[in-house]
């Protein structure tokens, strides 16, 4: 283990950028799991689908970020349908709790993974864009533009979603359904259609987050496993359904992972998210910013 102040500074720097990106990846899950209480373990698998979508569109020379935006409506639709199906088969029958809901999403995640392997093979794929490959030199530290771009978009996305959930009518309705479904129903709103909308938004965010993922690093079909840990770690760390908390939690995870990576090597870095998650569940299960 080599310790130097420069190295630590660089690690923190990278960690913060990576953290913004982790926050963006977790935003959708924060809505689906945090607010709606759906055991959505297939969320990271859909994230990888977003990455492969950007890769496919990249074949026609479309910038990954642009394809992320282009794919959002499609993902929105898929999310709505997925929730509709989940609601009809489990929630409406009252069998969502326990084994069934979890097993369903786990099965879906697994099917997505295998289909991706069948379609694209197990090799890593990466996207092409002008900002991928080059890096910015700042205080003798080389910061890749790809990380800067991803972090910038991630921050923007967090801001937009935070505003959406606190300022707009629909956003507040979604928060309300997370807090008290019965009360919302008494106000004359239909909780199911609001939840469906929220799930659609959560999935649509994945299209953009997936595009960011393929900008940050090459992807392969089995990557969703690591992101199950990262995304749930961030959501649990942030506390249920807190958007700004998600950003802070993402930054914490990013910095922790980056420091471990520099000090102990890559093979321990993947265990950081899970370690942090276990620690958090053990000492403060309702998260840093949870109610």
């Amino acid at each position: 283990m080599i310790f130097s102040f420069d190295l630590l500074f660089e690690a923190v720097m990278f960690g913060l950028l990576l953290g913004c990106f982790y926050a963006a990846v977790s935003l959708g899950l924060s809505v689906a799991f945090g607010l709606l209480d759906v055991p959505h373990v297939a969320h990271p698998a859909l994230l990888i689908v977003g990455s492969y979508g950007a890769y496919l569109l990249g074949g026609w020379g479309i910038d990954p970020l642009v394809s992320g935006f282009l794919l959002m409506p499609l993902f929105f639709l898929v999310g709505m349908l997925l929730y509709r199906f989940y609601y009809a088969t489990f929630e409406s029958r009252g069998t969502a709790a326990g084994v069934n809901g979890l097993a369903f999403f786990f099965g879906v995640a697994f099917i997505i993974e295998v289909l991706l392997i069948v379609a694209f093979g197990v090799d890593q794929r990466s996207a092409e864009a002008s900002y991928i490959g080059d890096s910015l030199e700042l205080f003798e530290i080389r910061i890749p533009y790809r990380l800067l771009v991803a972090a910038g978009v991630a921050l923007l996305l967090t801001l937009v979603l935070t505003l959406f959930f606190s300022r707009t009518f629909v956003g507040r309705a979604i928060k309300a359904v997370g807090q008290d479904e019965g009360a919302l129903q008494l106000m004359g709103a239909n909780p199911v259609s609001i939840k469906q909308l929220a799930f659609g938004i959560a999935t649509a965010v994945n299209a953009l987050a997936g595009a960011m993922l393929i900008i940050v690093s090459p992807v392969d079909p089995t990557m969703d496993r690591i992101y199950i840990g990262r995304a749930f770690c961030v959501v649990v760390l942030a506390g249920v359904g807190s958007m700004s908390g998600t950003l802070v939690a993402g930054l914490i995870l990013g910095v922790a992972e980056s420091i471990v990576l520099t000090m102990f090597g890559a093979s321990w870095a993947t265990a950081v998210a899970f370690g942090l998650l276990l620690l958090m569940l053990g000492i403060r299960p309702h998260g840093l910013f949870g109610r």
Binding site: V99, N100, F106, F110, G229, F232, A271, G275
Partner: protein, 310 residues
């Protein structure tokens, strides 16, 4: 009594098959089916009876396999000793995980169990003694008492383990432990209030389930004469361990057995005749189809059919 006669007959049949002159491949494939029975039955003790979904199966399989490997490397221990050691270590891991996480609500418990896989895998990858990321090649004994080949012997051992696992699951189901676990599954608060020692029962289930999953993993190094992290900590174990009880039916000890026989055999056939990717896809699809259309599994379907035909 009928149960014991039947299991004895099943085991004797497996034993006799191993002594006969049938093609070696039968035992290579048969081992996997027997292992599937142990995995499914073990998972169901916690997942089916208590309703706590363990996604960390590959972690427990890995602990079993790598404990067995250590026993082999250090002492050249025979296979039964390896399995026993693997069971103990995986049981201890189960107890530890249980103590850390069983106060958590369903999904948090499940996510925490995924953590177990990554953490155990990281430990193995960073350990040179266990072969690190590249793995270790083993030499199996060429002379095997009575059976002639090591694969045949492993098949019989695994068949014995299957009988043990199913018997343990059956015992738990019929004892007060199973009763308590069912109460936990239906409503943990109500169980707590009625004086069921929920935490203690869940810890027992966690340890027993973990130990038996370790049993399923322990013979893997000797079976393949090779062990490395990527295939040992494969998510595939988690999916089949979940899919088989759900396909068979989670409420009864026979459910995982039926599910394992169906899925295990089907997998062997699909792998050989079509492709191994499709084989994995079949597992995922069957899992989702059963969860959606027949959450009580084959046993539930049969019960429904019997009730409607009366």
């Amino acid at each position: 009594m009928k149960y014991w006669i039947f299991s004895a007959l099943a085991f004797i049949a497996a034993f006799g098959l191993a002594l006969s002159g049938v093609n070696e491949y039968i035992f290579f494939a048969g081992f996997v089916v027997m292992q599937a029975i142990v995995l499914a039955t073990a998972w169901n003790i916690l997942g089916g009876y208590a309703g706590y979904v363990n996604f960390g199966v590959p972690g427990f399989v890995g602990v079993g396999a790598y404990t067995a490997l250590s026993m082999h490397l250090l002492f050249h221990a025979p296979i039964l000793v390896q399995i026993a050691a693997g069971a103990v270590m995986a049981g201890v891991l189960g107890l530890g995980v249980g103590m850390l996480t069983l106060r958590l609500r369903g999904i948090f418990f499940s996510i925490a169990t995924i953590a177990v896989v990554f953490i155990v895998e990281a430990v193995v990858i960073n350990s040179r003694f266990l072969g690190g990321a590249t793995g270790i090649q083993l030499t199996r004994p060429t002379e095997v008492w009575l059976f002639g080949s090591y694969t045949r012997m492993l098949f019989v051992v695994m068949a014995l383990m299957a009988v043990v696992a199913v018997s343990v699951a059956r015992y738990i189901q019929n004892s007060h432990i199973g009763q308590g676990l069912r109460a936990v599954r239906d409503s943990e608060e109500a169980a707590d209030c009625s004086g069921v020692p929920t935490l203690k029962l869940k810890l027992i289930a966690c340890a027993v389930s973990g130990a038996l999953i370790g049993v399923a993993g322990a013979p893997m190094p000797m079976y393949l004469s090779y062990v490395e992290p990527a295939s040992t900590f494969n998510l595939h174990y988690a999916v089949i361990a979940l899919a088989m009880p759900i396909i068979g039916g989670t409420a009864h000890w026979a459910g995982p057995l039926i599910g394992a026989l169906i899925l295990g055999t089907l997998q062997q056939i699909v792998t050989v005749t079509i492709s191994s990717e499709l084989n994995v896809l079949v597992v995922g699809l069957l899992l989702v189809i059963f969860v959606v259309a027949a959450p009580d599994g084959v046993i539930g379907l049969v019960k429904k059919w019997k009730a409607s035909s009366k």
